[in-house]
Symmetry: C2
Subunit: 309 residues, 2 copies
């Protein structure tokens, strides 16, 4: 079986959300244990991951050093996090596989996601990222070409485009590595966003891509049997926060979309995961929303929200 | 023929050494033209690259934001530059290959280089990196665990270990991609330095590795036919800066080492290139020191310093 596992923030940062270097290392070291169990069971594994808090730290550095070193664009921030998170995954997975007497065949790709230059999100960026700043500091960043919005009492906040992922441009390289027996990390942070200019050239752009939506695209391109969207709960929940809350187990795309339309899933958290799961299931695959702690049972159908067409 | 090309600073920054984002993009776009010619001629190509000015910029960001975001270690800086430089190479090479009617099969690996935990350079770091700072600012960084030295009038400067590269841990993944027809970027910036702890775990460390010495190691591991160390001159020169200066063409390791012992090559620039070339030639390979402009002729023996055993 070929499995794509999309790691969420809780697999990569401290419980309080801290993305300090040592906290990222500790979280990823822990996350690679259940992942290594899946590899040891004989499945082919592809990993992808988020990068929100990590990019947040890079943006702070951009701001505080703007007078000395020009800020780098969001595609570069994404590329930087693929390097650091890739490194942590490589080392942690190497150790976890060694303890299971598996040869260490791990690889991490710098990887790009194609988006449309005319994606409507570019004209009206809405995705808030990074920290709030007082107006004068925000205006310095505006002079560097960024879009910031006045959010009232808390200050100004940067908003960026979050375009639709079309294609993981480096999925073929990931497939070649999978075929050669590697556990591959690809499309981290949703992939580095690039557009294709009229002359055919690829160019990185100022955007962030939802990592779960990219995971659904990558899962299709790699023909995986199961897409696992790892989060901090065992399953998606209907009536979350009410006395009638109950976990969703096996579910069809139609049923899950109906539940989404009824407002069961929050826009910034479970919503995109449910949407990504539905897209992959519509394409004929099996999508699972669960926690890394339930990864093994979920892949055997014994835990998690399992979405099929 | 399988060729490893090590790109130097001039292939990646502006002529004045600027590593601004747009200058890096322009330099790499230009550098990928002769590289694409080699690929189009039917050779298998592996790329590696330096990252000195790029890490310099990241260190400035570390310093200026240290009060808000903890500085990240040098292994992380290296990983970050593998992401951004890898991105630039992927996009530029994609375009250059497309114009030559080659399918775009390019890949960039997050890649680590093993060094010895007891490498003597760790006990006595001597490699200066980053910018000079006034003493009070340098002391802030010392509090974060870094080593800085008083360099007199210009201020304080950070020194780090530059240990010997032992093994490119991700060379097998690069080999798998080469076998699948990819042009692969690997071990950028000399590779992310890691040590193996007594319990077997790999761990990133505060160090920088000479990119040409790592290139020689990677060249051996990948069994390349030719290692090209690309620099800004057509060939290494004897009597540089004197009326008797003359370019070195075909040369044996013994002869080149004798010239090095006579002090013909500067420690910080041509010296490590000559040493890396000698190491690879001693291992039975052919090493070429030349400029990207002379890449094609040099591979056919018609230009550059060509070192054999």
């Amino acid at each position: 079986m070929r499995v794509l596992i999309a790691l969420g923030g809780n697999a990569m940062t401290a419980p309080d959300g801290s993305a300090r270097q040592e906290h990222q290392r500790a979280a990823i070291t822990e996350a690679m244990e259940p992942v290594a169990d899946v590899v040891a069971a004989g499945d082919q594994v592809v990993l992808t991951h988020g990068n929100g808090p990590q990019v947040g730290n890079l943006l702070v550095k951009n701001e505080l050093s703007a007078a000395v070193v020009p800020p780098v664009s969001l595609d570069w921030c994404g590329a930087q996090t693929q390097g650091t998170i890739g490194l942590l995954i490589l080392n942690a997975l190497d150790a976890a596989l060694a303890r299971r007497d598996r040869p260490a065949r791990v690889a991490a790709l710098v990887s790009r996601t194609l988006v449309a230059a005319d994606d409507p999100h570019f004209a009206a960026p809405t995705k808030p990222i990074g920290r709030y700043l007082p107006e004068p500091e925000a205006r310095v960043m505006v002079e560097h070409g960024q879009t910031w919005q006045d959010r009232g009492e808390r200050g100004w906040r940067r908003v960026v485009a979050s375009p639709e992922p079309i294609e993981s441009l480096d999925a073929p390289a990931a497939a070649a590595l999978l075929d050669a027996g590697y556990v591959v990390t690809c499309s981290g942070g949703g992939g580095i966003p690039v557009v294709r200019d009229p002359d055919g050239r690829l160019r990185g752009v100022e955007a962030v891509i939802d990592k779960d939506l990219t995971a659904a695209v990558l899962a299709r391109q790699l023909g995986v049997d199961a897409l696992v969207i790892a989060t901090d709960v065992e399953a998606a929940v209907v009536g979350f926060g009410t006395p009638d809350a109950r976990a969703i187990g096996a579910v069809t795309v139609d049923r899950l979309r109906a539940l989404a339309a009824d407002g069961n899933f929050a826009g910034g958290s479970m919503g995109p995961k449910v949407e990504a799961a539905c897209r992959f299931a519509e394409a004929g695959g099996r999508a699972v929303i669960t926690s890394l702690h339930h990864l093994g049972p979920a892949l055997r159908g014994g835990a998690g929200t399992v979405v099929t067409y």
